[in-house]
Point group: C2
Chain length 267, copies 2
Amino acid sequence: MQDGNALAVRPDADPGEDRISGSREKGLNRVLHILEFLHANQRAIGIGDLAKGVNAPRSTIYTLVRSLVDAGLLEMAGDGNRVYFGKKLYLYGMDYVRGNDLLRRGRQEVDNLSRETGETSELCMLQSGRYTIVHSSPGTRPFRISSATGLQIPLPWTASGRLLLAGFERAVIEDMVSEDDLVLPDGRRLLLDDFIEDIATAGAAGYCVTSGLVDAYTKCLAAPVFSAAGKVEATICLVVPIDTSEEKTGDLIALLRERAARLSITG
Amino acid sequence: MQDGNALAVRPDADPGEDRISGSREKGLNRVLHILEFLHANQRAIGIGDLAKGVNAPRSTIYTLVRSLVDAGLLEMAGDGNRVYFGKKLYLYGMDYVRGNDLLRRGRQEVDNLSRETGETSELCMLQSGRYTIVHSSPGTRPFRISSATGLQIPLPWTASGRLLLAGFERAVIEDMVSEDDLVLPDGRRLLLDDFIEDIATAGAAGYCVTSGLVDAYTKCLAAPVFSAAGKVEATICLVVPIDTSEEKTGDLIALLRERAARLSITG
DNA sequence: CTGGATTGTCTCTTACAGAAGACACATGTA
DNA sequence: TACATGTGTCTTCTGTAAGAGACAATCCAG
């Protein structure tokens, strides 16, 4: 991610081999990488592997992990030499929920929606410039649409992404969306201009539907939740089979918009 | 800590006062303090106050907070210059829940218990040597017993505390319990020996009841949840009015123990 | 308007945290 | 038995991150 611009790599390089790394990193950054790495892997990781995973010296990771474990942010996992997230992070997370009306009520609403409709429902937000499924509730279909909470998906792949970007400057949008993001899972390629137009349309319409973008079997219906300031702060969405009738789709969108509007009345 | 050899410390020292400190702190530690401070205050804090709160130089806190906000661990709160926990922490917290059977099932069970009995129910664990309410469900009584999730209470004040310490060496227990911890909210003072005896008794009995410890109106019933290794990994407890009849108390304890046992069958 | 307090950004210095690498001890496997 | 691979702890070196402090810009009370 963040090498790039770095000042010219030592010309003599290290005779040893590749290892360009070398750069001395701030401890905090190492920690942030550790957390991201664990989040990405969704399981306990051995300290050695962790060091490899974040490309940091073993000794450093040992020190940091000890601090983090002592602090309770990480915990040694059952068998012995692996670590994963700790109780403290859970507690802080709950603090976040408590301090965040929208999230708390949004979760509730999403659970309701999936129970009422039987479809998979999700609460989505921008998370440092990335689309994030903040909460999802599975729905009752035999073929369950997989979607882990916290999963980060390119904005252009989703209906929610189009709504979340409504109101942003073109430049900002270009900044958030990489070239890769425009390539769909099946290899098709979106045009940035089309995407930006979609955003405008979705913003004006107050809802958005996408068909067969992430996979060929589903469509995604989304409605925006507004902050007091009138910005799109989140979306709630439903993931339904792509062959859902026009009529039913319409009904679901109406339902979704009503619920999203209700969520928007925030203090 | 480790000055000593250093070349003469400023001879004038700090005229200010107390704070001999000055010691240069690791950035990571500062961050840990920041998080604890926010957790303790349960609300967004201005950066200046944050610096005061964790007793750190302003410039340092500005730098760290920026990193943390960029990383999404903290978020700028509504009005502008305050910070609180961020979405990332919530996501990591959910990861913890997902990776932790006991917590997931325990939360469920606690919710069930409070619904079934109408009493306040809690899931408790040791969190780096401190008693922690990991999840609580309010119950239906008019006088709701307050108990925020994540609240940390001295071990000797609680029934759960007695169970959680079962199986620890005396020395370890002495280490975990400070003098202050032995002083109850109403000023009474427990004897360490009595407390340690309580622990043994509770451990042997497989449940624990305390009356009027934290406050004069409630008693606390707790049952231990065991890990595969046979250690007490958590407790579930009910907070009931202190005048609850012997008979009903007995029934509730039986219920509690059954549910705790069910939780103990972990993978 | 003035004086004090607070906010956010910057620069410079040096104490110290991160890195390197050696070590001792396990495992596994050829 | 030797040889590779992984783990956890220490010690030593040095580049840099934490801290002090100065600054301009707000804000507010009197």
